[in-house]
Symmetry: C2
């Protein structure tokens, strides 16, 4: 067996069973090995940002890493933005990046770049394989590094000769380590703090925002009156009917400050202190009011669910959580399609157990609010701010959970960054309903431009307006083999969306949004 | 005036008059400044790889830099692959990359990444502005760094507060330094070497491969019998009728070695020694035969045209160059569309002074050969091997030379990496005829897979075959506002292509290629 085959077998034996890929010449031995070693599903993306975004969606759901297969430093570069997002979501990902043979690197081939240096700013672990003989062990270490806890980005650079030379046996990574339990003393201390504070809140993220985690948090709230918070950019939130309601910290600095104004104690659960995404002249980045105490119930590598349950027990919380949501579905909205009527339609038909992927940007809130009382679902949002995450995240989640419906709420501007994802939806016949929110603008930037006190001159319009020419999302989708339709009214959208989620397979609906008067 | 305005004015005063952009919140002051300071054209790309690729096409043609405007480390990351290509082409580019304020970087905002570290592997010059007061001077230094000679990638990171705080006057970069003349002694030495060697060749690249450069090289060939060579990946070649014929070193290692087997002396003119793009087991990377001497007539920062003319004069070369090409146009081909019939049609109708951008990959040679005797034109190829360069290169060239027709020969696989370019063609009504070579495969990788001795198993097919589903390029183009048609035969293609090049504005033809029997 050659190095490539030893690596593929190592990955499979270590629990990595999907490889999202966009290979090139230097990866051909790995591609050949995918056919020699059974157990790995190969999924092609026609652009590397699609590949890494799919690995995020898969890993965020599965809690174990997929592999990516990327071509040289430039192929890796194309995937970096979604690796940034995955890293901010603490998603486990193992990147396999092919490189030239070490002997070839002395020559000035135009394809050469410094792969490890390119990987480093977006990876928690980077290693360049020294030899085909150690490649299996390197692969096992990469899996160990990726699976954490919490999930990490591990990048293994594989020179072509390490892939094609002879290797020994494959290796196996040890099973993922269990998250560390939170010490009793921490539970004790935070229970005391909570008992003596009037205005407290828990900020839940990642592993704390599961159904189990929010249920325990709801019990704590029932006992102490603490608010339950999450951030707009949150990797995963289990919500909807039968779950506990979580408040979202608003996006605008002014609104966020107002929302947190009275807070005296904030308890971080797998989260960081809330700050503004961007800084603005004369406005604070730090959201907490002066004098607000901070406590950390669980670090990202600790067991947040167990800590929340232990804290609930320590506080003698009731069994019934506060903020438990009952199923409430809106009536069929009528007339113009805006983010609120759109959200109502989505809430009406969202299937139980669906995964709702949200890169709706300025038009997210309408759906986020309406689905609060919809059927229970997983909510994935853009976690690191780099646009173009929604579509591949949805595709990857659908690969990871073929039995669940994935609904992708995707703004048109952001959709273009990884538009190639639609082809993979068709190729793999993934069960994803894509809702493109077509507002023909970088609306968030028009808002931000107004905030800097500027009016739209000719150049600003040239950079922030997407109306000339209009993108036709039905044509783009059909061009990549995805069935598509266009909705201009709430009634049309409701009918198309309800049809799409009842059937299986990929489907795109272009929702022509009108700004609310 | 704030820092952003001082920077825009500095760029304009320093001769930078186009800004290819995909801005975000941190760049809004720069966007506002584009409307306050006259003289800069703003061109939007819906993905950053389009933005940097356009800057390459513009700079490669104009010989002076365009600016790019990119959003944070992740926006820059999306543009890196085409910066790699631009750097390999020695194209001058000034990247303006917005970042958070320095005060904000202490917080763990999800949008934060290490912008300078991301820029470094693909930039020749990187600087993070310290203050709004020095931003103008930084901008002038960036232009100086970019314009070389030779052209370089300069990346200026602009923290938001450097953009929004008060600034003084703009600055002006000094005019581009003239390329250094090649010393007499070098000319003398190489003339002597050429005089005493039977099998010699000149390898021309970049500034040596202009009409003037190849004409002087042709005179040297007439006198000495030297072969004139270029590489497949070459940033610019002025060729066609009235110019001098240049041989292309073949892509396959075996063919390249055979082609150069007899060589005793290779003279590099703005070029590096020829090597294989990839290494293969048991095959050499170095293309030159044992005992072949190397001489460097011009370094990239030296005046290659002047050196070639001085060498021609020193050798007392005749005025008439060897290999002068006469206009010869093929007859209308009939029947199936393959790379050769396609190339014949393109050659028949290629307008004089056209810019032919080639990312045809496996299907390039048919057009390259047929256009050798076509009307004189500029030929731009992918310079660094990262796919997705063709479409944005064509768009950028069209921005730089609105009076010239641009023809983009683009393979379908590569086209998907920067498919968003089509929207900018429509937005700016650029005069580009795009020929998509639709072979529904990563054909070059199927060839490379066969070279590693593997057959196409299910996983290899899943990664290298693009036929399921088929991409419809007419729909994709129409979805982005570009008029499009599909050609299944040579006659159809000829009619559509001749129509497209006679009219102005963007147009796409999907050429359904059949592999030649």
């Amino acid at each position: 067996m050659n190095g490539a085959e030893s690596l593929v077998r190592t990955l499979v034996q270590s629990g990595v069973s999907v490889c999202f890929a966009n290979p090139g010449t230097s990866e051909m031995h790995f591609v050949a090995a995918l056919d020699k070693a059974p157990g790995m599903r190969a999924v092609l993306g026609l652009f590397e940002g699609v590949v890494t975004g799919m690995a995020d969606g898969y890993g965020r759901l599965a809690g174990r890493p997929a592999a990516t297969l990327l071509h040289l430093g430039t192929g890796l570069a194309n995937g970096l933005a979604n690796l940034h997002n995955a890293r901010r979501a603490a998603t486990p990902v193992v990147n396999i990046v092919g490189d030239h043979t070490r002997a070839h690197l002395q020559f000035n081939s135009p394809f050469i770049s410094d792969v490890a240096a390119i990987a480093r700013p977006f990876s928690d672990w980077v290693h360049t394989a020294e030899s085909s003989l150690t490649l299996a062990a390197d692969g096992a270490r990469a899996v160990t590094a990726a699976q954490g806890p919490p999930g990490r980005i591990a990048t293994l650079v594989v020179p072509a000769d390490a892939a094609w030379n002879d290797a020994e046996a494959p290796a196996t990574a040890p099973p993922r380590a269990a998250p560390r339990p939170v010490p009793e003393s921490t539970i004790e201390r935070i229970a005391t703090q909570l008992g003596s504070t009037r205005h407290s809140a828990l900020l839940l993220r990642g592993d704390a925002a599961t159904a189990r985690g929010v249920s325990a948090a709801g019990r704590i709230a029932a006992r102490t009156g603490a608010r339950l918070l999450s951030e707009r950019l949150t990797p995963r939130l289990q919500r909807g009917a039968g779950r506990v309601r979580i408040e979202q910290i608003p996006y605008r600095v002014e609104d966020a400050l107002e929302s947190l104004r009275a807070l005296e104690l904030l308890i971080l659960v797998s989260s960081s202190p809330p700050v503004s995404t961007f800084a603005y002249p004369g406005k604070p980045s730090w959201y907490l009011p002066a004098g607000c105490s901070l406590a950390q119930l669980a670090q990202p590598e600790e067991d947040a669910e167990q800590a929340l349950e232990a804290l609930a027990a320590r506080l003698k919380s009731p069994d019934m959580p506060a903020g438990l949501v009952r199923l409430e579905l809106p009536d069929l909205p009528r007339g113009a399609l805006d983010q609120f009527t759109l959200g109502a339609c989505i809430a009406r038909h969202l299937p139980e157990g669906a995964i709702l992927v949200d890169e709706g940007v300025t038009n997210s809130p309408g759906t986020f609010r309406a689905t609060e009382t919809a059927a229970p679902h997983d909510y994935f949002s853009n976690s690191g701010g780099a646009l173009g995450q929604g579509l591949p995240l949805a595709a990857g989640a659908a690969v990871g959970a073929p039995e669940r419906k994935v609904v992708c709420l995707q703004a048109d501007g952001g959709a273009m960054y990884s538009v190639q994802s639609l082809w993979t939806l068709a190729r793999e016949q993934l069960d994803v309903t894509v809702v493109i929110i077509s507002n023909r603008a970088y609306a968030i930037l028009q808002m931000e431009l107004a905030r800097v006190g500027a009016t739209m001159g000719a150049n600003a319009r040239a950079l922030l307006d997407l109306a000339t020419p209009e993108l036709s999302w039905t044509r783009l989708a059909q061009g990549m083999g995805v069935e598509a339709s266009r909705a201009d009214t709430a009634e049309q959208f409701d009918a198309q969306f309800s049809d799409a989620v009842r059937r299986r397979g990929p489907r795109l609906i272009e929702a022509m949004i009108q700004p609310r008067a």
